[in-house]
């Protein structure tokens, strides 16, 4: 269980996360949604300890969260230039005893002997996913994991996430497209203006679209129809 208490993050004068408190249970896939600038990535960065919050505490199973606790798949996957996929994967020690690269590779079909800079966006994402899966962590944070992936790999990723869930991991996902989250998540937390304003259970997912886009759709239908 992750317990976030009074988390606040500011960039200069701009408050990005404002006194956020939330509990995130294990064995559940949590979706984090919000419009651009809502603070999703900042929230993830705070959990992964890649930034220092201005206030607040984050606990994992009643102990302060550590940099060792999370496997973090960032939105943009940056790799060191001039190394191959195989070399990148070798950097990470395999702490997940069940991880079998060859099995996943049969589905990902990555050219692991080639330089990473020659990879497509989707291939880079798959490589980053492989490196994340190699690690046995209680918390998996995946920021926009579906970006750039083809339909088949999207489905594979869903299977991977479900397997992690069955292993009682805490899984946090974000996506700028709502649909994959509606399929895979058990709970979706709506982040708005730096605060979680509502948590939707699976049975309430139908209301998310309206909550996020209700007003936008009303205006847009009228305005766009007259503009094109």
């Amino acid at each position: 269980m992750i317990d976030v208490n009074g988390l606040s993050v500011k960039y200069g004068d701009k408050v990005v996360l404002n006194d956020v408190s939330i509990k995130l249970a294990a064995g559940i896939i949590h979706g984090i949604v919000g419009l651009n600038g809502a603070g999703k990535t900042t929230f993830f960065n705070a959990l992964a300890k890649t930034l220092k919050p201005d206030a607040g505490l984050i606990y994992l199973n009643n102990a302060p969260i550590s940099i060792r606790d999370s496997a973090y798949l960032e939105t943009v996957n940056y790799f060191f230039s001039g190394i191959t996929g195989n070399e990148y994967l070798k950097i990470f020690r395999q702490t997940n005893p069940d991880f079998n690269q060859h099995v996943i590779q049969e589905y990902f079909k990555l050219p692991l002997d080639e330089l990473i800079e020659n990879y497509s966006t989707g291939m880079k994402k798959k490589l980053a996913i492989l490196s994340v899966l190699k690690q046995d962590k209680p918390l998996f944070i995946l920021d926009e994991p579906f970006n750039g992936l083809d339909l088949e790999t999207n489905k594979i990723l869903e299977i991977i996430l479900t397997t992690l869930k069955q292993k009682d991991k805490i899984i946090l996902l974000s996506s700028h497209i709502l649909e994959p989250l509606l399929t895979i998540c058990d709970k979706i937390h709506l982040l708005e203006n730096g605060q979680f304003i509502k948590t939707y259970e699976r049975s309430d997912f139908a209301g998310i679209d309206e909550a996020l886009f209700g007003k936008l759709k009303q205006d847009a239908i009228k305005n766009i129809a007259s503009a094109i």
Binding site: K49, T50, K52, P64, S66, I67, R68, Y72, V76, Y78, F79, F80, S81, G82, I83, T84, N86, E87, Y88, K90, I91, F92, R93, D113, E114, L115, E117, N118, S131
Partner: protein
């Protein structure tokens, strides 16, 4: 260039001092007409090495309206303090000659094909040393040429040291790219242990590469023993500086095409007897700065 200079902060004073001394040293060489051409060649080769190594070439040649003029003027500005004194000496013609050479360098917008060479390099160098794997792979032509040149000339006085010194410049360029945070955190080391391990690895590889050649060189040139003994520590201090400098401003995923000015000055410093302590002092100062900066990413 302005951004790089601003980023130096108070350490700029050190570079001004080192640069000032270097300019004075070169002036003395220009006065000796026979040495002037060596200095001009040295400056031109330094700019050439810089041109091959810089990571912003693709951006400049694609987006700047007159890239050749831009790159040329950068090298003129960089060499100006060191070369301008030439025109006040008997070797005045050296400066126009340097400008002529600098005119050619921007035309060398070499972009090697992204072929994967040495696919099994990680069998020789552990995958954790990505700087060395990536650096050797990206610079394998220059790297091999310089090392082979040093091997072939290892019995000649001073000359192999010049090639190895050039090789050190290539090795320092391995440190221009910041690794992703996940890679930095692999192993969960403290900042001090992390940087110390990096320095140990670099020391190991440089001793393996340089020591045999220097031993052979000393056997053939007994009177060069002091220079040869000092050579490895001098080159190590430059690489140490490059490592510490990189981590003193490390940000995840940040590509640091910069570092060129301080590294160029420190590299030159390692070749001049009276400037030898400068890279070592700067390495120590930047070691502390790097430790402090890495605390943000490695400390819980």
């Amino acid at each position: 260039m302005i951004r790089e200079i601003n980023g130096l902060g108070l350490y700029l004073l050190f570079f001004i001092f080192a640069g000032g001394y270097l300019a004075y040293y070169f002036y003395r060489q220009f006065e000796l007409e026979k040495n002037a051409m060596y200095v001009i060649a040295f400056l031109a080769i330094a700019c050439l090495a810089l041109q091959f190594q810089r990571k912003d070439k693709a951006f400049i040649y694609k987006h700047i309206s007159n890239p050749y003029l831009q790159v040329f003027s950068e090298y003129v500005a960089l060499t100006f303090p060191f070369a301008i004194t030439c025109i006040f000496t008997k070797s005045w013609y050296g400066y126009p000659l340097l400008l002529l050479l600098l005119c050619v360098i921007p035309l060398l917008n070499v972009r090697l094909r992204q072929n994967t060479v040495f696919k099994n390099l990680s069998l020789l160098i552990p995958a954790g040393q990505i700087e060395w794997i990536s650096g050797i792979r990206k610079n394998f032509i220059t790297f091999s040429f310089l090392y082979l040149a040093a091997v072939v000339t290892c019995w000649i006085k001073i000359l192999p040291l010049f090639f190895l010194w050039m090789l050190t410049i290539i090795i320092t360029s391995f440190q221009q790219e910041a690794e992703p945070l996940q890679v930095l955190r692999e192993g969960f080391k403290s900042p001090q242990k992390f940087i110390s391990d990096k320095l140990k690895v670099n020391t190991f590889y440089m001793i393996v590469l340089y020591a045999p050649l220097l031993i052979v060189n000393t056997l053939f040139n007994h009177d060069s023993i002091v220079i040869n003994l000092l050579f490895i520590p001098a080159q190590l201090s430059v690489v140490f500086f490059a490592v510490c400098f990189k981590y003193s401003s490390y940000k995840p995923g940040k590509i640091t095409p910069g570092n060129n000015i301080p590294l160029a000055i420190v590299s030159m410093g390692s070749a001049l007897p009276y400037l030898l302590p400068v890279p070592a002092i700067l390495s120590f100062l930047y070691f502390n700065r790097a430790k402090h900066n890495l605390k943000k990413y490695l400390d819980d």
